[in-house]
């Protein structure tokens, strides 16, 4: 029950193939282009590592605001990888000490073909005991410059896959 209260679920429908969504989630050349940007590294089997490193632009923007950021901004472990349909990882944000000290959270991403060339991507983030990360990924600190969280990421991912361009391009 408490677990459910701290779980966030997001779903977006994208006119593309499951493989295209899978690639956009798991390949650094894609993840560098949308949302918070960042280069992902996935070792796509159970127990494999999951890491995100900042892009040059992200690092420059953070430093311009007076924040130094670590070489690895997100780390986790792959719990389940079933390309191109399901990816489960743990997730810990290392951007600041408060979030890094929160318990490890868990993200499940599921891709489903829904017919007529449209797929759904459902992202479930179990955030038990991690209220600071929850407010960041929930988008409630957007006005403070913390980005729009998962909803913002998925919205831009949809735009990128359907139009070939990001919001900025």
């Amino acid at each position: 029950m408490t677990t459910l209260m701290t779980t966030q679920i997001y779903r977006v429908y994208i006119k593309t193939t499951p493989q295209a969504i899978w690639d956009a989630i798991t390949m650094p050349e894609w993840t560098a282009r949308y949302g918070y940007t960042g280069y992902v590294e996935y070792d796509l089997h159970p127990g494999g590592t999951y890491r995100v490193r900042p892009t040059e632009g992200f690092r420059a923007a953070a430093e311009a605001m007076g924040n130094s950021i670590p070489d690895v901004i997100i780390d986790g472990e792959v719990l389940e990888a079933d390309p191109p349909h399901k990816l489960v990882t743990t997730f810990r944000m290392l951007m600041d000490p408060t979030m890094a000290a929160e318990p490890v959270t868990r993200i499940t991403q599921e891709i489903r073909e829904t017919g007529k060339g449209v797929c759904s991507l459902t992202l479930t983030h179990e955030l038990e005991g991690a209220p600071v990360l929850a407010s960041i990924v929930g988008g409630s600190l957007e006005d403070e410059g913390a980005g729009g969280g998962h909803a913002w990421i998925l919205s831009e991912l949809k735009t990128l896959l359907e139009t070939g361009k990001t919001f900025a391009e």
Binding site: L4, R11, V118, A151, S155
Partner: protein, 134 residues
């Protein structure tokens, strides 16, 4: 036709489709229509507010704040679900409801940002014109 509008051919029994068929019109204009319709009701906005405060609520929890029959609340929740604004998860015998903010985000990113940008550029144009006139 408005810019960006597309012609969609819908199957005749469109209004009777269940959410499993949402996908047949889930991309493009129809999506926005469903979201706007779902939001155009104070009870449904109230339900979304309650889920915003705390996610994962059951039907019993959600109906407690409303003077409405259980059936009435279920009907509103179904409309929110059809619009993709609510996602349900079954845990044991309980069905839990989660707010999905993505459809609202898409409208924000597609429409609100566009108009905000236009207003800003209109102001910039005005400033330029006023300054040139001086």
């Amino acid at each position: 036709m408005h810019p960006g509008q597309t012609t969609l051919t819908l199957d005749p029994p469109f209004s009777r489709l269940t959410r499993d068929h949402l996908v047949t019109y889930s991309s493009g204009v129809m999506d926005d229509d469903l979201v706007f319709k779902a939001l155009a009701d104070p009870t449904r906005r109230f339900l979304l507010d309650r889920l915003f405060e705390r996610d994962g609520r059951t039907l019993s929890e959600l109906e407690s704040g409303l003077e409405m029959t259980r059936f009435g609340v279920m009907k509103h929740l179904r409309i929110l679900e059809d619009a993709g604004l609510v996602i349900t998860r079954k845990v044991g015998r309980e069905k839990h409801h989660f707010l999905n903010p993505v459809p609202i985000r898409l409208i924000h990113d597609r429409w609100i940002d566009k108009f905000a940008e236009r207003q800003i550029s209109a102001l910039a144009d005005l400033k330029r014109e006023l300054e040139n006139d001086r």
